[in-house]
Symmetry: C2
Subunit: 199 residues, 2 copies
């Protein structure tokens, strides 16, 4: 015996999501049966509307429901600094900090020769176009992830942007606040020493 | 900054599912953005259709998309035995075994005084009505879960059904096949000894 058709289809859809195995998919599908019909309808609509209404900002590449996105169209932000990040989720992380008032540029990935992802596969060319068109920009902060791909991307971008004369900076590496010196890895510790500052 | 409205709503819907925390919900929502539009539409439809098209069989209480369900309406099944289970998923587990040819009755729960669930909250009265209406039935197999609630429910049902003269049996407790005697708990081991059979 199989599950009724309608349930099987739902289980199949859940299984396609990352990190959801067959058993979890069954549990989720049965949970949907027990949910209020209104909640299920809202869930279904949210799925379709997320896919249909969300697009990418034509300036910075961040996900948005209007173009340009609210950061790019916000007149109160500092339009001289652009922070380059790998992902839209990184923008949210930066915004949670509340310290940064500049603009963003979302690459949607990082250079990874291992996976065959080159500079042409990520949102780099639009960054160059943007820098050429917008003369206000004086600093580019490279906030790609502190791993191999992120470092390679930062290195690539810094070399690419040097000739433009714009100041290119990289966010600091060091010990995370609240961390423990004893458990820090050698590379992080070495970077923390390198980046030491006078008090 | 918050996520765009359409994404926030989807994240919220995902968070309502069991075992999905805020971080996983964000990951799933972003995965939906990267999915093919057709797959997302199918997912949305599957959600709504699972909720709308699935109902409970008026005879056995199992989930079904037609009434009576395919087990109750199958003429080739042994109509003298009814296996009582707690959940529709238990029916699937039994059917996977391929040994059992009788009918089912799904309780949709188990008696649990701790959670205030009494016999009137689960599908018991329809079992009695069914037994009174259907004189073919000669055996009831109690296949509720081997835990406190399941045992209490089996005990309750066996006392309730005794006066009807129908044979009431309980599935065996013992060591799971492929298990290890060393790691078996005392209660299971004691039940396995109790239930020993001649070879």
């Amino acid at each position: 015996m199989q599950y009724p058709e309608a349930i099987s289809r739902l289980i199949e859809s859940f299984t396609k999501l990352p990190g959801i195995g067959p058993k979890t998919a069954v549990r989720l599908a049965f949970h949907v049966l027990d949910m209020e019909e209104d909640d299920v309808l809202m869930f279904g609509k949210a799925l379709v509307s997320a896919k249909r209404d969300i697009s990418y900002c034509s300036i910075c590449g961040n996900i948005t429901d209007k173009d340009p996105c609210y950061v790019c169209s916000d007149k109160h932000r500092n339009r001289t600094i652009v922070c380059v990040v790998q992902d839209s989720r990184d923008v949210i992380a930066m915004e949670k900090m509340r310290d940064y008032q500049g603009l963003y540029h979302v690459l949607h990935g990082a250079i990874s020769p291992m996976e065959g992802i080159g500079p042409e596969d990520i949102n780099v060319s639009s960054l160059l176009t943007r820098l050429q068109a917008d003369e206000e920009i004086t600093e580019i902060i490279l906030a790609t992830n502190p791993n191999i791909e992120g470092e390679a991307t930062a290195m690539y971008l810094s070399r690419l942007l040097k000739p433009t004369g714009i100041r290119v900076t990289r966010i600091a590496h060091g010990l995370p606040v609240g961390g423990d010196l004893e458990y820090a890895d050698e590379v992080t510790l070495s970077r923390a020493m390198e980046g030491r500052r006078e008090l």
